[in-house]
Symmetry: C2
Subunit: 326 residues, 2 copies
């Protein structure tokens, strides 16, 4: 009757940062960890980047912690989002005191639609010259996302949220998305501001403090949250959550970092912060806050891995985080 957490290290530094995050989870709770494989390495061995057994384990678990996959990233992460029934990808992007950032005041959360848009992926080769992709937008997906956003801003203590879209060009599809999101927010008494996707890209660079919680279609959320990652100093510190109605998958936003993989110097912060989101999801809010505080404390005055200008190893940072857990 302990919660069952599937753990997928994947490739590259996933094999270093996921064990670090599991150590932290072990330090704050009593979980049953179930290891599963996915990514380039298992594909090389078995021919499949995402074995059925892994898919099934993820679908049945209480939550999954995933590291990173290399070339096969899309083959792994897109089906796993489906496995947990995820309708929203939660991507906080904040700068940390003491960590160099292009815009050190950045503190945003993207709520990315996680099932459709161009990711619905109906593509056709219509002629030698011409291919098409059918972008799919439903009112029901936008409404579910918006309902989540309304609860999210209430929990965060925010006044409302921004809705990003490109409805001046994609009038029917992004118009539908915008209208559905705004209608749900209105019905819940939550304020919204509409921002065109291109204007958002300019404005967030100039002054990220204009934004707080940002609700986006799938591809917009992918690109704009990665933009914000650039503003806070890179992907190294960013966690993310793929949330479904009764299951979820957590992953650092960074990739496999092949240049440093295997050296034991990967920064475990993003994976540990992803574990904190997992704790939140399972209802251990106090433990989640303790983990975030410990990571923040180590980032500002503890050992640092080389990506942050230090020379500490992954396990030294992990030990420091565990030491500082309140």
């Amino acid at each position: 009757n302990h919660e069952e957490i599937v753990v997928i290290e994947g490739d590259g530094i996933g094999r270093e940062v996921v064990p670090a995050a599991v150590e932290v989870l072990d330090a704050v709770g009593d979980f049953e960890f179930v290891a599963a494989d996915a990514g380039d390495a298992v594909k090389a061995e078995t021919g499949e980047a995402l074995p059925q057994a892994t898919y099934d384990a993820v679908a049945d678990a209480d939550a999954t912690l995933f590291g990173a996959a290399g070339e096969t990233a899309a083959d792994v992460i897109l089906p796993l989002r489906t496995a947990v029934g995820s309708f929203v990808n939660v991507r906080p992007a904040r700068a940390y005191p003491g960590v160099e950032a292009v815009q050190p005041e950045t503190d945003l959360v993207f709520l990315r639609e996680n099932t459709e848009g161009v990711y619905a992926g109906h593509e056709d080769r219509l002629s030698e010259d011409l291919s098409t992709l059918t972008r799919v937008v439903t009112t029901s997906a936008a409404e579910r996302l918006a309902a989540f956003a309304c609860e999210f801003v209430a929990d965060r203590g925010s006044d409302g949220f921004q809705v990003v879209h490109k409805a001046n060009v994609m009038r029917e599809t992004d118009g539908r998305f915008r209208d559905a999101v705004v209608d749900v927010a209105d019905a819940n008494g939550v304020d919204t501001e509409e921002v065109l996707m291109d204007a958002f890209a300019t404005r967030v660079c100039l002054d990220p403090t204009q934004f707080d919680v940002v609700v986006c279609p799938n591809l917009a959320g992918d690109v704009l949250s990665d933009l914000a990652a650039g503003l806070v100093g890179g992907l190294g510190l960013l966690p993310s959550a793929n949330i479904g109605p009764d299951n979820a998958l957590f992953e650092p936003v960074h990739g496999t970092a092949p240049d440093i993989a295997g050296e034991g110097v990967a920064n475990p912060s993003a994976a540990i912060l992803s574990a904190a989101m997992l704790l939140d999801h399972l209802g251990y809010g106090a433990a989640a806050d303790a983990v975030r505080d410990a990571v923040e404390s180590v980032l500002s005055s503890g050992p640092r891995t080389p990506d942050l200008g230090g020379d500490a190893r992954t396990d030294a940072v992990t030990d420091a985080v565990i030491d500082r857990l309140a």
Copy 2:
């Protein structure tokens, strides 16, 4: 037998910055200017944001200088791109010495596919709940863009270009785009580097000097060039060109700026730099360089409009640019 340039001021500060750019063109060459209407104001009067007479004038001209349109922007600019047969939108994004920028080393040019992608705009309302948009990608459009890019990098003295895409998700459509662009570059001995759209957003924030000439699908070019605009300090200084086989339209990237419209304090630099791109296009490369040098000189040591922290008026800046023309 002077070149005929259609001049569309449009709305808001378009009415201030376009006349400034026309003054500069008048100072360096002998052109026949033909005024035409488009935008919110003409729509309020006539019901049409883009009168047929304007469309025809643009289609028949040697080149068009356009200011900005308000709410009707998409109804104006998308058909006008078609009117000039534009297949590429050229968007330089560079920072200027003396102008505050998030990333002052930025000096990029985006070459944006200008005819298809999600802008091809086949949208359908399939049910109460569901709408679709058909994204269109052809090899022929990608090849034409790539051929332009190969000439462009040669003129610029660049080694090659980056190709941005999201072919890990849009495998068939962006895969087609990427393959066609890379094949043309290979055949011309031009180096290419592939960058995923989301990774580009992160990397360009962290270090824009990694990039030089960036070839993109339509929506990616829209969003990523606006991102770069944020890095150089805003849209205020950015010109753009919509190039077709034998016609073209030039416009500042900024909009109508309703907050300052009518006050005579709009920054005319982006419109004047757009006029410089027009001069290049008509074959007056020396005049184009002279205009760019004059604008740069005024930006670093001349009168400044309020957006750049000064208190000069539009005409003072314009006069200064004309004074400094070599």
